[in-house]
Assembly symmetry: C2
Homo-oligomer: 222 residues x 2
DNA sequence: CCCACTTTGTGAAAGATTTCGCAAGGAGCG
DNA sequence: CGCTCCTTGCGAAATCTTTCACAAAGTGGG
C-alpha cells in the first residue's frame, strides 16, 4: 500500500467519516451503505467507495459496511488507535481553549506539557499540568517523548518555537499562527488559519452580492 | 469575470498572499516579483502568476508587482476593503478566544453581537458588547444587519443555531463545530475543523513511522 | 540604439482528483 | 432455484488544478 500517494483530501474525508460512523454507532446502526455515509458526510457515494478502496475492501455487496468494523479499520488506517503525546506552546486564548477541549484527549491527543515565555503565566497550573518556561522546552519535550507540537504563540514567535520543537525531536507540528513555518521535510506540518477561512467567506459573499446586483440590473433593464 | 469558477485553493492562496504583501509593505519594499512572493507564500511562482491572471494583469514585465497596489487589488477582489458585521454564537472557550482576537477586527470582521443560552453568561459584558440570550438572535441579527454568523456552540446545538442564523438572514456562516451543517445553497459556509487537522497529522505520522520501520527492516536484512 | 538580463502573462501539457458506469456479489422472497 | 433489488469495487472518462515553457515587454548599461 503506497500510503504516500493518498491525497490529503482523502485523508481529511476519512477523518470526517469517522465522526459520522461514531454517530451511527451511537444510534445503534449495524450496517451503513456508502450512499448513507456519503449523505451524512456531505460527499458523493462514489467518493466514499473510492476513498475506502485505496486501503482495501471493507464492505459487502448488497449490504454495505459494518459500522463498528469500518470505524475500527479507519481508526487503524489513520493511526487513531493509540495516544499521541502533544506539547502546547503559548498559554494564551487559543492555547487555553485547546487545552480545555477534552474531546481531543478522548480522541487520543494528550497534552502532556505546556510552555510559555511570560512570567505571569509560567508556574500556573491548568488542571494537573504546570505551565513551564519555554526555555525548558527542548529538554522537557525530549524527556517526555512528545510526538506533536502545537504552536499557539503570536505569529512573530512561531518560527523560533517551531525550530525548538524540531530540535527537540517532535514528529509533527500543528500551527495556529497565521504565518508560513519552515520545517525540515520529514516533519509533518498542518496549519489552522482562521483568517483564511474568514477571508474566503468574504470572497464568496462579495461574489454572490455582485451576482445578485447584476441580476437586479438585468431585471430592471428588461 | 466569472468569479464562480475561481477555485477555492486560488482564493485561499490570495488570502495568504495578502499576509505576505502586508509584511513586505511593512518592510518598506516597493516591488516584488512573483518568484519572491511565491517563496514567502510557500508556492511556485507560476502558481502566483496564474492565480493573479484570473483577475487581471497587475504586474510589469521585467519589474514585478507594486506591493501596495497589488495588496489593494487583492483586497478589493476578496472583498476586504469593507467591514463585515459578524455575530458570535456560543460564548465559551473558542468564542472568547475569537472575540478577544483583535486582528479579525483590524481586518474588517467586526463582532457586533454575542449570543449564548446559558443563564450564567447571558448579561455579561465582553468589552462593550453584552452577551444576549440566543432567543433574541433572530430579531437582533435582523436589526443589526449582520452579514456573517459564527457558530461556536457544542456540536449538538450547531444545526439549530445555523437554522436561526439563516432565518435571520445572514449571508455566510463560519462553523467551528465538528459537524456538517445543512444550509440553503445561497448561504456560504466555511468550516474550521481542528479535529480533522490533528487526525490528518496522525495519519501522516503513522505513515512516516511505517516507512522508517520498513527502511530499518530492509537495512537489517541486507 | 543594441544587447544582456529580468519578469510577466498565458496557452498547452501534465498531473491529480472526482465522477461515471457497470460487472459481479449478495439478500430476500415465492 | 429463479428473479428482483441492492450495493460494492473499480477501470475509464471527465473535470479540475498545477506546472511548463516561451513570446512579449520592460530595464539598464554602454
Ligand atoms: N485567538 C484567536 O481567536 C485566534 C484566531 C486566529 C489565529 N490566532 C493565532 O493564534 C496564536 C495565538 O493567539 P492567542 O489569541 O491565543 O494569543 P495570546 O496573546 O492570547 O496568547 C499567546 C501566548 O503566547 C505566549 N508567547 C509569546 N511569545 C512566546 C514565546 N516566544 N514562547 C512561548 N510563548 C510565547 C504569550 O505569553 C501568550 O501567553 C496567534 O498566532 C494568533 O494569530 C488566534
Ligand atoms: N475549544 C476548542 O479548542 C475547540 C477545538 C475544536 C473544536 N471546538 C468546537 O467549538 C465549539 C465550541 O467549543 P468550546 O470549547 O468553546 O465549548 P464551550 O463549552 O466552552 O462553549 C460553548 C458555549 O456555547 C453555549 N451554548 C450551548 N448551547 C447553545 C445554544 N443552543 N445556543 C447558544 N449558545 C449555546 C454554551 O453555553 C457555551 O457557552 C464546539 O462545537 C467544539 O466542538 C472547540
Amino acid at each position: 500500500m503506497k500510503l504516500s500517494r493518498i491525497s490529503d483530501s482523502t485523508v481529511r474525508r476519512l477523518s470526517s467519516y469517522c465522526r459520522v460512523l461514531e454517530e451511527l454507532d451511537r444510534e445503534g446502526r449495524r450496517m451503513v451503505s456508502s450512499k448513507r455515509l456519503a449523505e451524512r458526510g456531505g460527499v458523493s457515494s462514489a467518493q466514499v467507495r473510492k476513498d475506502l478502496s485505496y486501503f482495501g475492501s471493507f464492505g459487502r455487496r448488497g449490504l454495505g459496511y459494518n459500522v463498528p468494523r469500518l470505524l475500527e479499520e479507519i481508526r487503524s488506517i489513520m493511526g487513531l488507535n493509540r495516544t499521541w503525546r502533544c506539547a502546547l506552546v503559548g498559554a494564551g486564548h487559543i492555547g487555553s481553549a485547546l487545552f480545555s477541549y477534552h474531546d481531543f484527549r478522548r480522541r487520543g491527543f494528550d497534552v502532556v506539557a505546556i510552555f510559555d515565555n511570560a512570567e505571569a503565566v509560567v508556574g500556573q497550573k491548568w488542571e494537573d499540568c504546570e505551565i513551564q518556561n519555554v526555555k525548558k522546552l527542548v529538554p522537557e519535550i525530549r524527556r517526555l517523548g512528545v510526538d506533536i507540537g502545537i504552536v499557539a504563540t503570536p505569529a512573530r514567535a512561531a518560527q523560533e518555537v517551531a525550530d525548538l520543537m524540531v530540535e527537540a525531536g517532535v514528529s509533527g507540528i500543528l500551527n495556529f499562527a497565521p504565518r508560513k513555518l519552515e520545517v525540515p521535510k520529514e516533519i509533518s506540518l498542518r496549519n489552522v488559519n482562521m483568517t483564511i477561512e474568514l477571508e474566503s467567506l468574504s470572497f464568496a459573499l462579495r461574489a454572490s452580492e455582485t451576482r445578485s446586483r447584476k441580476k437586479r440590473a438585468v431585471s430592471v433593464d428588461e
